[in-house]
């Protein structure tokens, strides 16, 4: 049987990869995908805690996070589509309208 630590280490590593992706990539869609990766890592930790504490609350919280992530993806991608229409690019290096 696998202990709790294994799941949490996997969750932490996935979260770190997501952070690196957000900082590294310039395509806004890929950045959103890396945010999804981080949310999934948090969900994994919640489900693992829920299982090892034998309380269903963590699973409910993970369920709520999945729904919020779906809403976030819908609104975020809508904004990306609109930005691509207006500015012709989804590269963060080109979206410098608010740069001081």
């Amino acid at each position: 049987m696998m202990g709790l630590a294994g799941y949490l280490v996997l969750s932490g590593l996935l979260f770190g990869l997501g952070v690196a992706g957000v900082l590294l990539r310039r395509n806004v869609v890929v950045i959103l995908m890396c945010v999804e990766l981080m949310l999934n890592a948090a969900n994994l930790a919640l489900v693992a805690f829920s299982r090892f504490l034998e309380q269903p609350d963590g699973q409910v919280l993970a369920f709520l996070i999945i729904a919020v992530a779906a809403a976030e993806a819908a609104v975020g991608l809508a904004l990306v589509v609109q930005v691509a229409r207006q500015r012709g690019s989804v590269d963060t290096d080109d979206l410098t309208l608010m740069r001081g």
Partner: protein, 188 residues
């Protein structure tokens, strides 16, 4: 979940996540992310969270990733090499990502290495749709209902945000709002 199976799934998930971060083609990144989500659903099954595993496949691997792929194809996004960024930013990204991952992992190892083996099989129905749904609709009823409001707001917001242009209202000119969206559309 037996340890060898977990290590196999964890390796697959980390490999897929690395693909997401490093592959220059966004479409292949999205496909790798779908792989990661399927693997996480399998891990949820191993954690006897069967309801959440189904939801993960249906909502994440199904709906959300289809949305991502749809937008990628719609925008016809080109290939972007993650290594073509400025070297400073590349190093900062690698450093911060590694530090966050190692920090979380080491915190876990310091704090939670105690309970070595997992608990025995949980009570009947744990993680199934009945037990999860019971908690969801009693103790977490208010967040659950608020979630529907949030989803409605997201639907309306996404529809409004992707409109090519605001509807031209059949209104006499003196009644039109002066600083409204039409003025912006003309300015742009």
């Amino acid at each position: 979940m037996p340890a060898p199976l977990f290590y196999l799934l964890a390796a697959l998930a980390l490999l897929g996540a690395g693909f997401v971060v490093l592959h220059p083609n966004p479409v292949k990144s999205a496909l790798a992310l779908i792989l990661v989500m399927f693997v996480l659903a399998l891990i949820y099954l191993g954690l006897s969270a069967s309801f959440l595993a189904v939801i993960q496949v249906m909502v994440y691997a199904g709906a959300v990733m289809v949305l991502f792929l749809f937008v990628l194809f719609l925008l016809n996004v080109g290939v972007e090499s993650p290594f073509a960024v400025r070297p400073l930013r590349r190093w900062i990204a690698a450093l911060v990502g590694t530090l966050v991952g190692l920090l979380l992992a080491s915190l876990v190892l310091v704090r939670f290495v105690g309970p070595g083996a997992g608990p025995g099989a949980p009570g009947g129905g744990f993680g199934g749709i009945e037990s999860t749904g019971r908690v969801l609709l009693t103790r977490y009823l208010l967040p659950f209902e608020l979630l529907s409001v949030l989803l409605l707001a997201a639907i309306v917001g996404a529809m409004l945000a992707t409109r090519p242009r605001w509807p031209t209202l059949k209104m006499p000119p003196e009644l039109r709002p002066s600083g409204g969206p039409e003025g912006e559309a003309e300015a742009s």
